[in-house]
């Protein structure tokens, strides 16, 4: 029989997992469900054909053409044409449309007379993504409409076609979106959120497994297998979960960067290392929390409270540098933050290790939390045994005195 303590604890935990696989199955199912949820939801890349409205008080050839042209763009569809502002506003408040154009009376006449009628574009920024996308489409449409009128006039004045473009649009941007040319929303969300969820689950499951030892009063048996070393005990305990959740994270990455063709400009090996280190770092945090807090459910809820902020503090949606200074430093305590920075470095910027080593080191640094957790655990166990011994002694003395 192998006498390596880590291996012995590992085998013990492995057998337990095989014997009671309920939570493993539930959590794996949860992770897969989350993956499928995001993958199928963001399938279109960007939300397409978002409902918008037009308040057409003009009812002219021009206003109708704007409606038609809006309908012809892939991003939006005119769901309803309103005849007054209030109706459109109510529809926006009900969430039926995300933006609307207001075309005032006599617009066409005024255009013909060069009186510059005013279009008003309302967009609902309470739904940030949908509102912004609608705004973008409607604003572009407005620009094109104005450009169209300009072109008509210039044509009638006898200006050549080439010159017309120079007059209508003297400067233009050519935008190149590096590593996400389609502005695919799924790429944003999934590349960070899926590993974050798996790390969250790994953290909770590791904490749970440590907590269960206390709850079932099997700490002694556990430590005996580890030759009394809490570090070995924790390492052996982590290992089955590390293997399983790393496998999940790697599979997720393989599907995303391989089959779903998400941009990947760097080394696959580094990305894999990044994923595995993320899982391990999250587990180390779990070891510290579960090692320090004696009460099982309290330890679990503290783990939850800690992990719940990981999605925000990864900085994938709202950049960390735009947050107050305290949160900028606080985010270093989250493995997912380092993972995200490594991901941008490797997959987007195509850097190699000599560029992104600081965050790999930071992820490795989470190992210190494991040592700290092991120390606290040892101290607590010693304290407990000392207390138990003291109590036993007390009882014995009381007994012997009563006998006397």
């Amino acid at each position: 029989m192998n006498s390596n303590p880590v291996y012995r604890v590992f085998m013990r935990e492995y057998k337990r997992l095989i014997a009671y696989p309920r939570y493993l199955v539930i959590l794996t199912f949860g992770a897969v469900l989350t993956f499928v949820f995001f993958a199928t939801m963001t399938d279109e890349g960007q939300p397409q054909r978002l409902p918008v409205g037009v308040v057409d008080m003009d009812g002219s050839y021009l206003s109708r053409r704007i409606c038609h042209e809006l309908n012809a763009t892939p991003g939006v569809q005119v769901k309803e044409v309103f005849d007054n502002h209030m109706a459109a506003r109510r529809a926006m408040q009900r969430g039926e449309i995300f933006a609307f154009y207001e075309i005032p009376k006599n617009t066409y006449n005024e255009v013909l007379q060069f009186h510059a009628p005013k279009f008003v574009l309302y967009n609902n920024a309470a739904y940030l993504l949908a509102g912004t996308l609608c705004y973008k489409q409607l604003a572009t449409m407005g620009m094109l409409a104005a450009g169209g009128v300009q072109r008509e006039v210039l044509r009638k004045k006898g200006v050549g076609e080439k010159q017309i473009m120079g007059l209508i649009q003297p400067v233009a941007f050519e935008t190149r979106n590096i590593s996400n040319p389609w502005i695919n929303y799924g790429v944003y969300l999934m590349t960070t959120l899926i590993p974050a969820v798996i790390a969250f689950i790994a953290l909770m499951h590791t904490a749970f497994s440590i907590v269960r030892e206390r709850q079932r009063r099997t700490v002694k048996h556990w430590l005996k297998k580890a030759h009394g070393s809490t570090v070995y005990a924790l390492l052996g305990k982590m290992l089955p979960y590390t293997l399983w959740y790393s496998l999940l994270a790697l599979t997720a990455n393989l599907i995303m960067f391989g089959f779903m063709d998400f941009p990947m400009n760097g080394s696959w090996l580094l990305m894999a290392l990044n994923s595995v280190l993320l899982i391990v770092a999250a587990q180390c945090a779990a070891c510290l929390i579960a090692g320090c807090i004696n009460d099982p459910s309290l330890a679990m809820s503290v783990s939850t409270l800690y992990s719940a902020m990981s999605f925000s503090l990864s900085g994938f949606s709202f950049p960390i540098d735009a947050m107050p200074g305290f949160f900028q430093s606080f985010s270093w305590l989250y493995p997912i933050r380092h993972y995200f920075l490594n991901y941008t470095d490797i997959a987007i910027n195509g850097n190699n290790l000599h560029q992104c080593w600081p965050h790999f080191c930071a992820l490795l640094g989470f190992g210190l939390l494991l040592l700290l957790g092991a120390m606290v655990l040892k101290w607590q166990i010693n304290n407990n045994t000392a207390e138990v011994k003291r109590e036993v002694k007390k009882k014995q003395t009381v007994l012997s005195e009563s006998e006397k």
Partner: protein
């Protein structure tokens, strides 16, 4: 009359017992009282700034003309962008981008100047860092404002060269005027969009997890979660359900008001709705969450710690299924129906419409009816699940 008195008496007994259980459990206290008050405050501080400002960008100016310099100066003057580096070559700028020192590159090619002189369309290449949506947004927002301004300046010059000046040129340049109004979130900020939904979700998740914890605790210790007066035995589970839900309702009424009314006020988030319609709307929401939590707790939860393990990470899916990010009309049908299982979906949608967008109760009637429907449905399931596990004799009845 006597029967009603007995019913009320039973409910009171259950209510008192449940209060005792809540206040004697440090974990439940943490989840019920600390988390829903602490998290909103933390998140409010976190998203205080709403938008990215002074995004560092690099500029590669190979045109070296009057217009390109003016363009760069104007960009530097926008709140969104700071021109941090002026590079001589693209390679240099690329290096900066790879090191994440800048988040966008503006490249003015050599023919920028010749195109402008020849009255053609001149092009500026923009390379945007897509690692975060907000870098991209800030870069485009700032540079677009400059682009439009610069376009007008050059257009005026060109019309002047063609003999059109003053009002004539202006009319020609802008045949249709514009006004853009960003409704309900004037700064177009992240915080004002995310925080109300997040607070709703915090209330939902803390209440739900707390109830599941209490169910698990009772079941784990084989203690009676019923505290049913002995004469009731297997009937009248609704009295127990009502008694317990009253306890949670009493605890969560002040918490909900603080989290969803006072904290948004203190942090000056957009709040157009009035307190009464918000309260009337939130009543079925809290009730639906309570009964939903009791149903799930009764059926699935066997240990005190398992709800935290199995349900906590699900908050993320819950948030995205509310339709605040990906609009509901674009969700696949299956996920849309799936999202209706949870009270958070109509809850968040309705709350945003009332509180952020100032809708009246009649505007959110779909959500309101859905919440009452969920309340009724989950109340029935909570009663039946209790009866079911009682039949399994999983509890000792005191």
């Amino acid at each position: 009359m006597k029967k009603i008195r007995i019913i009320l008496y039973d409910i009171r007994e259950v209510l008192y017992a449940e209060f005792g259980r809540v206040f004697h459990d440090s974990t439940v206290l943490l989840i019920f009282f600390i988390a829903p008050l602490l998290y909103p405050v933390i998140f409010c501080f976190m998203y205080e700034k709403e938008n990215v400002t002074n995004l560092p960008v690099a500029v590669v100016d190979q045109a070296l003309c009057d217009e390109s310099r003016r363009f760069i100066h104007k960009m530097d003057a926008t709140p969104e962008i700071t021109v941090k580096y002026k590079c001589a070559t693209m390679a240099e700028a690329e290096q900066l981008m790879r090191h994440c020192d800048v988040h966008a590159i503006f490249f003015f090619p050599k023919d920028f100047a010749t195109d402008l002189a020849a009255k053609r369309t001149a092009h500026v290449a923009v390379f945007a860092d897509m690692s975060s949506f907000y870098y991209y947004k800030a870069a485009l927002l700032g540079s677009n404002a400059v682009l439009i301004d610069e376009m007008h300046t050059i257009q005026l010059e060109r019309y002047a060269a063609d003999g059109l000046t003053g009002l004539q040129a202006k009319e020609q340049m802008q045949p249709v005027a514009y006004e853009e109004i960003t409704a309900f979130n004037p700064t177009n900020g992240y915080g004002a969009f995310l925080l109300p939904a997040l607070m709703m979700l915090v209330v939902h998740q803390t209440l739900f997890l707390g109830i599941c914890l209490l169910c698990g605790d009772a079941r784990e210790n084989k203690r009676s979660l019923l505290v049913i007066p002995a004469r009731l035995r297997t009937r009248c589970t609704h009295r127990v359900t009502i008694g317990r839900s009253l306890c949670y309702l009493i605890i969560y009424t002040p918490i909900t008001i603080i989290t969803l009314w006072f904290i948004p006020r203190i942090f000056q988030l957009p709040q157009l709705g009035n307190l009464y319609s918000i309260l009337i709307f939130l009543l079925p929401f809290v009730l639906a969450v309570i009964f939903f939590g009791m149903t799930v707790g009764n059926i699935f939860v066997r240990y005190k710690v398992s709800p935290l393990l199995c349900f906590a990470f699900f908050s993320l899916v819950l948030f995205f299924s509310t339709g605040m990010v990906w609009p509901q009309c674009n969700m696949p049908r299956f996920w849309y129906n799936f999202s209706l299982i949870f009270p958070s979906t109509p809850g968040v949608q309705g709350f945003i419409k009332i509180s952020t967008m100032g809708a009246s109760l009649s505007d959110v009637r779909t959500e309101y009816i859905a919440l009452w429907f969920q309340t009724g449905f989950y109340f029935v399931t909570a009663c039946f699940s209790l009866r079911f596990i009682k039949k399994l004799k999983l509890f000792n009845i005191t």
